[in-house]
Point group: C2
DNA sequence: TATCGATGATTAAACGATTAATCATGCGAT
DNA sequence: ATCGCATGATTAATCGTTTAATCATCGATA
C-alpha cells in the first residue's frame, strides 16, 4: 500500500535542506552539524516519518526481512519458536516472513525458494529430521541440536535428557521406557542419548518408537503401556510432551494411576503440560534465548556480507551454540511403587492393594 | 540481499528490445506482438528471471505482503491458522509477515503499526476477545465469528455448538456441563449459544468458566469435575480441545472412565485430539477454506484500492462469511451410564459395579 | 496521394531512499 | 595574500520496475 507518512524530501523541504542531508542526519553516516542533525531528527519525529522500506531495499539491497522456515507448522512447538523469533527479529528491526513446508521436503525447498525470491536478508531454519540445508544464497541460522554439524544454536537436548533421567533416577526408577517418535530425528536421538547416559548401567532402559509402530498398527494406535507396567517398567520418559500426553492418558485409561504406579515425563513444556492432571514433569527450552542468539548471529552475518554478492549461504555460527534446558518438575513424576521388583503377575494385580501416596511437587494451582 | 538472478534490462538486452517491452510482455498489459511476447516469456523463464519485489513495490506501491496478526501466538490453534493463511497467501502470490502480540493489547497495537510501517498490502486479524480493530489504513480481513460485526469470514461456531449438542443429545445426555474459558470471548459465546440452543428445554445445561475460577484458585487448579459427576452430570462439553484435555485427565485421575461414565467433547481438533486415550470427539473448523476466503477477499480489496490513497481501512467483506464446522466423533463420547438419574450417592459408588461397554466409533487406530 | 487509425515498440519519467562525488566556506599556516 | 584542509551541505546517479506519452510504420480509406 501507499505510505501515508511523509517522505524524505518532505522533511528536507520543510527545513530547507537537501534530502541527502536528511538521510545522513537520520542514519548518522555523512557529515552533518550536530544542531542541524538534531533539528532534523526532531521534525522527522514530529511529522511521524517512517522510511520506505521499498525505497531503501532497492538502493541498499537489504529488505530487513528474515525468513522463518519450519519443518511443519503444525508442530505444537511452533508457537513458541515463532513467538521468540518474531520478538528477537522485531527488536533488531527485522520482519519475519513465514514459510511453511507442511512436513514435505520438496514443499520445503519451494518455500525456501519463495523466500529467496522475496529477497529475505537471511533465514532461520528449524530443519526436519535429517534434512540437509542446501546452499540458499543468504545467511542461514540453523536451530537443530548442538551435535548436528552446521547447527547455529539450539537447546542442549542431551543435557535436558540427562536432567530428566537424573530426576527419575533420584526418585528410584530403574526400569524406564523411553518413548520417541522417529529414530531419524537428531533432536530426539540427543534427548534419548542424554537419558541413557545419565541412567548408565544401573538401570534398564528400553526404547519405543512410535512412528514405525503406527505404520504397522495405524495412527493413534495404543502403545501397549499397561503391558509394559506389568513387565515392571515404572517410568515412561517421552521425548515430547505430545507423547507424554498420549502415554499419560493411555495409562490412566488402563486404570494405572500416574504418578503413583508409573511416572511420565515429557519435553518442551507445551501448552497443555501445566493444566492436565497430573501436570507434566518436563524439560523446557529457553526459546527466547535461542531465538535471540540465532537472530543476533544472522544480523551480524548480514552486516558483514557484501550486498552485491549472492554468494553461497553457509550456516552462520554463534558464540554460545548450546543453551541449557530447564527441568520442570510437576505432578506426573514420583517415586516408583514399593512393589516394583515383584513378578509381573503380582504387579498386575497390585492396583487394589497399593495405597496412593499423594505427593505434590511444584504445584501451580495453589493460590 | 542482492538478487542473484538477471534483471529486466538483461532480458531486454539479450533480445535487443527495450525494458518496457519486456515488462509489458510479462505482465500482459501494454501492446506487444504475440510472437515477441512468447519469445520474451521463453527467455525470461530460461534465464530464471524473478522480478525484484523491491523495485516493483517502489513503483507500484504494492509490496505483495500480507500481515498476520494473532492475539496470542501461543494459542494452540495458531499452527492451523498460520499454515492455512500462508498457503492461501502464497498461492495468491503474497508473502505473510507475522505479528505477535503476546496476548497484550498495546503490544498488538505496536505489532500492527510495525506491519503498517512495512507497507503490507493488507492484513488478516484474528482478534482477541472483544478487541476492536482500529482503522489501520489498509484492507483488513477479520476472522472471528459470524455474529461479530466487522467479521469477514469465520467458522460457524454456533452451528458447531449445535452439532456437538445434537450428538450428545442423541446419545442420551440430559445433564451437561459446558466448560468455557472466558465469558468475553465472542467465539466461545457463540459455541456455547449453539450448544444451549440445540439442547433446548429438555436438558439441564450449566456453564463453568475457567478463567474466573483460576483467578481465585490459581492456574491449573482442579475444576471439580468428579463432584459434578456426583451431581449427575454425564457430559462435559468444552469450548476447546485444550479444556477437553484438562477435563479428560482430571476425570481419569479421579477414576471416572471416559466415555463410559462421562462423555467429554472439545472444539478445534487440535493436534493431540486423535492420539490421546480416549481420542477426543470434537468439532473442526475448515481453516483452509476460511483462510482462502479471507485472503481472496483481501486480495480483491487490494486490487480495487487506489494505491495512492492511504484511506481508512475498513474490514473487507466476503461472500460466504460462514464456513460450517465438521463434527468429528471419536471415543470420548458415548451414551451416559444407565445409572444416570439415580441419587448422587449411588452414582459416586457406581464405579466398581458398572461394566465398561467398549464402544469404538471412528477408530483411527485400526490398521 | 494525403490522411487517419491501429498496431507495435521505444523513451523517459517516476517511485523513495542512499551515497559517492562535488562544491562552498571559513580558518590557520605559510 | 594564498594555499591547503577540514567541515558542512548539495548534486546527481543509482537501485529495478512500471507506465504514460511518444514515435514509427503500414494498410486502408477518402
Amino acid at each position: 500500500m501507499a505510505r501515508s507518512g511523509p517522505k524524505l524530501t518532505r522533511i528536507a523541504r520543510t527545513l530547507g535542506v537537501s534530502a541527502a542531508t536528511v538521510s545522513n542526519a537520520l542514519s548518522g553516516k555523512g557529515r552533518v552539524s550536530a544542531e542541524l542533525a538534531e533539528k532534523i531528527r526532531a521534525t522527522a519525529a514530529e511529522l511521524g516519518y517512517v522510511p520506505s522500506l521499498a525505497g531503501r531495499a532497492l538502493r541498499t539491497g537489504r529488505t530487513a526481512v528474515l525468513g522463518l522456515v519450519l519443518p511443519d507448522i503444525a508442530n505444537p512447538l511452533f508457537p513458541q519458536i515463532a513467538q521468540a523469533i518474531e520478538l528477537a527479529a522485531s527488536s533488531a528491526g527485522y520482519g519475519v516472513l513465514i514459510a511453511d513446508s507442511r512436513g514435505d521436503v520438496t514443499t520445503q525447498t519451494k518455500a525456501i525458494e519463495r523466500l529467496i525470491d522475496r529477497d529475505v536478508d537471511g533465514m532461520v531454519i528449524v530443519p526436519r529430521r535429517g534434512t540437509r540445508i542446501a546452499d540458499v544464497g543468504c545467511p542461514v541460522a540453523v536451530i537443530d541440536t548442538p551435535s548436528t554439524p552446521g547447527n547455529t544454536v539450539a537447546a542442549d537436548h542431551w543435557g535436558g535428557g540427562r536432567q530428566i533421567a537424573e530426576h527419575l533416577r533420584a526418585l528410584g526408577h530403574r526400569r524406564v521406557l523411553v518413548i520417541g517418535n522417529n529414530p531419524a530425528s537428531n533432536v530426539q536421538n540427543d534427548r534419548i542419548g542424554g537419558i541413557r547416559s545419565a541412567f548408565g548401567d544401573g538401570a534398564f532402559v528400553e526404547i519405543l518408537w512410535i512412528e514405525p509402530l503406527e505404520r504397522e498398527q495405524g495412527k493413534g494406535c495404543p502403545l501397549g503401556l499397561a503391558a509394559k507396567v506389568a513387565e515392571g517398567f515404572t517410568a515412561f520418559a517421552c521425548v515430547s510432551d505430545l507423547h507424554a500426553l498420549r502415554a499419560l492418558t493411555e495409562l490412566q485409561r488402563a486404570g494405572i494411576n500416574v504418578p503413583e504406579r508409573a511416572s511420565v515425563t515429557g519435553f518442551d513444556d507445551l501448552i497443555w503440560s501445566p493444566v492436565v492432571t497430573p501436570a507434566l514433569t518436563t524439560a523446557r527450552m529457553d526459546m527466547t534465548r535461542i531465538a535471540a542468539i540465532a537472530v543476533e548471529a544472522l544480523v551480524k552475518a548480514i552486516g558483514e556480507r557484501d550486498p552485491a554478492d549472492a554468494g553461497i549461504g553457509a550456516p552462520v555460527t554463534a558464540e554460545n551454540a548450546e543453551v541449557p534446558m530447564q527441568l520442570v518438575v510437576r505432578q506426573s513424576s514420583a517415586a516408583p511403587p514399593a512393589t516394583q521388583f515383584q513378578p509381573a503377575q503380582t504387579i498386575a494385580n497390585a492396583r487394589t492393594t497399593t495405597t496412593a501416596k499423594n505427593i505434590a511437587p511444584e504445584g501451580e494451582h495453589q493460590p
